[in-house]
Symmetry: C2
Subunit: 323 residues, 2 copies
């Protein structure tokens, strides 16, 4: 059994806990938190304070860092790599080279391995981008996101006077997706690629036309998009919009010779973004534990992971049943 | 530059030649053939007889075996692995373990590496099957093929009395694909998963109704499928049905917790099957040459290949621009 620690018990940490329960070759041995451990109830694993990490070094094969990129990981990444093989889902694209360097230094010094920026974007989508370009070098890669909830846009709608609650979904524009996959000429702009859907609970008696206008013309958030706005009841909001769905699509379209177009598409339709991301992080944890077990050290990415290491199955099983 | 040999100059060999011309870090140095080398005209590379392979051992980094699985590869695979790092697209699923063992023995004895069963199925589809199961262990994987030409079925139609020419396409049943992706209950049978489209050029004055009936009721080939039959002119056949399109779809649908469904889909839409397969084999050739350059020997599969090795770009570039 691969012994796993989860560092940070928010949405992603709980998603990872759930995924570990589905992995027959992995067990959750501890959850680390910066909060009071007594205040946290897991599905069964003990909870320890992050300051006590060093005491767990010999009892953990891989530590899944489930903190947020904006505030937590810059510190958590290098700090935990000093004690454990680690996996994270650092996702601030522009900062990845710096983050890689800082985690790499900490991991190398301690003789550990740190697999950074897993999840689905960065992560699986990144893998498909590299795969698509390697096979079809003469072409273009396009990424669409959604249908998915945007927390920032939902918050922006909630700040409009008269709005009690709101949920905003970003969706790919289907006709543009089809054009990209077919290799048809299409201009890729903010407006042509994605549209926005808002579900709004308004205060009784509020001026719905004004709310609609204020949302649709909000700069940065909605003014550049085709936006549909639906007013619903608080009951419908609770019943239909409580999940955290997301997803998206990476399309590689290329020519192998003049006029011969080939299309590779990878699509995710996720009912729960944190549970899916947790599932990716857990599979990457299996790979990281195995790579570390073979003596690999330093920081690495999804581009350095083989499918054999991601799978719980033996190479013989994989060759016999999955090729 | 990675120096590449192509062994076998049929559709796939020519597809690989085309793909090498698009790869900036690879050059085609020789084409091997069992025929008379003087009878073959390449895009520019010299042609040598397979018996002269040993003389090329020091001038080739990777040899792409482009023969057919049924007859050629069982012999070609082990024979060429004695001289070169090799890549092939061996695709007889049931024979893969035996083929792996025989190529592995030859490659190990010579200190070479042999990457077998690349292409798209087996190959890319296999990779997505393993990826899907590793991330969503509680679920099911479904593979659909097409739209694509089936040579065997086209031949079967051509044998019907009164048929001058024919082309048969296999297509996924769209409603079943959608049900699988949505996680809806659907029975997966021969008939529910795929349908067949036939384009037929009939002899003038032939009994079209009889031809239609004979095709639709043909055991094994069409009787178990919904089959549509269109009679067209020889001109339309030449204009619209000369390509070798293919493709398909691997869907992994799983639950991360009770009632929370997640779907991963990977789809190929290929205008030319041999050119795309050639492009995969060439990218795998890059990876095999690099793995061999690090001293790896023996047989391996797509499950053992990293994306970093498939890509012509440096790890730094990949981290900065593709994550």
């Amino acid at each position: 059994m691969i012994r796993v620690a989860i560092n940070g018990y928010g949405n992603l940490g709980r998603g990872a806990e759930q995924a570990i329960s589905k992995a027959e070759d992995m067990e959750l041995v501890v959850v680390f938190t910066r909060r009071d451990p007594a205040a946290i109830t897991t599905q069964g694993a003990p909870v320890a304070h992050v300051d006590d990490m060093p005491q767990w070094a010999d009892r953990v094969d891989v530590c899944l860092n489930c903190g947020g990129s904006a505030t937590d990981l810059a510190e958590q990444g290098p700090a935990s790599a000093a004690h454990f093989t680690t996996v994270d889902s650092f996702d601030i694209h522009a900062q990845i080279p710096d983050y890689f360097a800082s985690v790499d230094a900490a991991a190398r010094q301690a003789g550990n391995l740190a697999l950074i920026s897993t999840g689905w974007d960065p992560g699986l989508f990144s893998m498909l981008r590299v795969l698509g370009e390697a096979i079809l070098p003469d072409g273009a890669t396009t990424t669409f996101w959604g249908p998915g909830v945007s927390q920032g846009h939902s918050d922006a709608v909630r700040r409009v006077e008269g709005v009690v609650d709101a949920r905003q979904y970003t969706l790919p524009v289907e006709s543009t997706v089809e054009a990209v996959r077919a290799g048809d000429e299409v201009e890729l702009t903010t407006r042509s690629m994605h549209r926005r859907e808002c579900y709004v609970v308004a205060r009784e008696g509020a001026d719905l036309e004004r709310i609609e206008r204020e949302i649709a013309t909000m700069p940065h958030y909605f003014a550049d998009y085709e936006t549909s706005i639906s007013f619903i009841s608080a009951e419908e909001m609770a019943a239909e919009h409580h999940g955290l769905p997301h997803g998206g699509l990476v399309v590689r379209r290329g020519e192998t010779s003049a006029g011969v177009g080939q299309t590779m598409s990878f699509e995710l339709q996720l009912a729960s973004n944190p549970e899916f991301t947790g599932s990716v992080v857990v599979a990457m944890g299996r790979a990281a534990a195995r790579m570390a077990g073979r003596g690999q050290t330093g920081a690495c990415t999804v581009f350095d992971v083989t499918l054999a290491d991601l799978s719980p199955r033996s190479p013989e099983e994989l060759r016999a049943a999955y090729l």
